[in-house]
């Protein structure tokens, strides 16, 4: 008895150490962001800064246009998310509840695009969007996010689980497909849609390569691009860079803590998002 108990405690200690290693970089980031330059590389590591320096955050928000970065990113994220949800939901409804020729072929073609690495279509996609006159524009970033096989797949899975009788009954009552879609299916799909919303938001917020190739002017930068620019401007000022990094990470970490269940469930059930 006593042996199993001490074994258990050892097990929890092991887990705790592992978790500590996993979050060590975040702790280091947070701690460094409150330091003065002289406190950064000390031996032993000074985990709780003494004295505390809040000036780094002041610098991030006054000397750098982080407000603009936030605003830009939120604009792109909201636009891309709304577009993705509407387009995916409509397609998912067609693929699960409507019958038309070529349906399965089209669905397979959509799914097949998930095999195509983004870097393979990056150049031609850039060319097409430039042809539309949208370089250095947030709309380029929004458009690039709209073709989401993941979103269609996720919502289709959900619509498939809705009992067919529900739709049939509505059809007999004379409801149009648009009505069934918007007034029965969409409200039912709230959990799946919120998963998609969170995913899409996180993805746009964290995206780096697309802003890197599409945006030229600094006032258009999104948060990740702004952060790399910020880093290259303050190469040696570790404390300020870490304060900037905290600001870029915090919104996502908050979203994650709030919607942990949606995120993990969505990941597992789709098994597709890399």
């Amino acid at each position: 008895m006593i042996q199993t108990k001490s074994k258990n405690i050892l097990f929890y200690i092991l887990m705790f150490l592992l978790a500590l290693i996993m979050i060590f970089p975040f702790v280091w980031m947070l701690s460094t962001s409150f330091k003065f330059d002289s406190q950064v590389f000390t031996t032993p590591i000074e985990w709780i800064p003494n004295p505390v320096n809040l000036n780094n955050y002041v610098k991030v928000w006054t000397e750098e246009p982080f407000f603009t970065y936030y605003k830009n990113t939120i604009f792109v994220a909201v636009g891309a998310t709304i577009g993705q949800v509407i387009i995916s939901a409509m397609a998912a409804y067609a693929f699960s509840a409507l019958e038309f020729r070529g349906r399965n072929l089209l669905f397979s073609l959509y799914l097949a695009t998930m095999m195509v690495p983004w870097h393979t279509i990056m150049i031609p996609q850039y060319k097409i969007i430039s042809q539309m006159g949208l370089t250095d524009s947030h709309y380029a970033l929004i458009l690039g996010q709209l073709a989401s096989a993941f979103g269609i797949f996720l919502l289709r899975q959900f619509f498939m689980s809705v009992p067919r009788e529900l739709m049939e009954a509505a059809r007999i009552d004379g409801a149009s497909e648009l009505r069934i879609f918007s007034q029965i299916m969409l409200p039912l799909a709230k959990p799946a849609i919120s998963t998609l919303v969170i995913f899409s938001f996180v993805q746009v917020w964290n995206d780096y390569t697309a802003p890197l190739i599409y945006l030229n002017s600094k006032e258009k930068y999104t948060i990740q691009l702004g952060l790399t620019f910020f880093q290259s401007e303050h190469t040696m000022q570790y404390t300020v860079i870490m304060a900037g990094t905290v600001c870029a990470l915090i919104p996502i970490l908050i979203i994650y803590m709030l919607f942990e269940k949606h995120i993990t469930n969505g990941m597992v059930h789709s098994g597709l998002k890399g």
Partner: protein, 294 residues
């Protein structure tokens, strides 16, 4: 007059129309256009270009930078895939054995995955700082006299990228493993325990065979991702020092957007696509030999 059948067809197509437009413009068309560019000397600067046949593909194998990027990418892919799979499986197994605090530990392990590549790249760049960075401080403290110079060293930079990638993404694969582990019926273990099988024997005789479908899914995903490492490289090393962290997706970006040879970059992009297709195809081909779906 529109018949009922025609109307049904029409409704279906109306609902897929928005997605069809965006998929055509931003997926299908680029896939075709990209292949066409790879057969031209397109620079990306002017709209004038010529058809050059397969010469971009021939050039690939004379290009020193490209050859190094394949070698680096294969080393990266091998190390990253194996280490990520192992660590994810270990973490999932440990988590699955927990009775309490499971959610908190799961959150901690998953946190790197949800964070942006850029942010973690910047943090780790400082952690790897060879002069006084926290990693080498720890290594010195535990008695390693000459810790590696990490991102400043041609021998260690790629390893450093692997470390960050594994740390960043193992939480995701762990979640999928965890779902697989939780699907194993408890009764299987009970009967094995009655037969006197020990914990380790049970793990290898029951647990692992039961989750082969999950292992397969993760293996496919992890290899696909291992050929798409870009953000980390571009933020942490820009392919250097020397050519030591020069990988395929970095070459595509560099040739296309920095070197103004979009035709040639497209050839690399298609080579990358082919590599991923071949490896994934091979994995599906030998799937039946070791994955059991009963």
């Amino acid at each position: 007059m529109i018949t009922k059948r025609r109307k049904k067809e029409l409704t279906g197509w109306l609902f897929v129309m928005p997605s069809l437009i965006v998929f055509t413009l931003f997926m299908f068309l680029p896939i075709i256009l990209g292949f066409w560019y790879s057969l031209t000397d397109y620079t990306g600067l002017s709209d004038q270009y010529n058809f050059v046949g397969l010469s971009n593909y021939v050039k690939l194998f004379q290009d020193r930078y490209f050859k190094v990027s394949i070698k680096n990418n294969l080393i990266y892919a091998g190390l990253y895939s194996v280490l990520t799979m192992l660590l994810a499986l270990v973490l999932a197994t440990l988590l699955n054995g927990l009775k309490r605090f499971r959610k908190i530990f799961r959150m901690a392990f998953f946190m790197p995955y949800i964070s942006s590549m850029v942010a973690v790249a910047i943090i780790w760049k400082m952690i790897f700082n060879p002069n006084g960075g926290p990693l080498n401080t720890v290594l010195l403290n535990i008695g390693i006299a000459n810790p590696p110079k990490w991102l400043a060293s041609t021998d260690w930079a790629l390893i450093a990228i692997v470390i960050v990638s594994v740390w960043k993404s193992c939480g995701y694969y762990m979640l999928i493993f965890l779902a697989g582990l939780q699907n194993i019926p408890e009764t299987l273990y009970e009967s094995a325990a009655l037969d006197g099988a020990g914990k380790i024997a049970r793990y290898f005789k029951i647990t692992l065979p039961m989750i082969t479908p999950t292992i397969f899914l993760n293996l496919v995903l992890v290899t696909i991702n291992s050929f798409q490492v870009f953000d980390l490289v571009n933020v942490m090393t820009k392919g250097g020092p020397g050519m030591s962290t020069n990988v395929l997706s970095f070459r595509i970006y560099y040739e296309g957007f920095k070197n103004s040879s979009m035709g040639y970059a497209s050839a690399i992009a298609y080579f990358l696509f082919a590599v991923i297709l071949i490896i994934t195809g091979f994995q599906f081909l030998i799937e039946k030999r070791w994955v059991n779906y009963d």
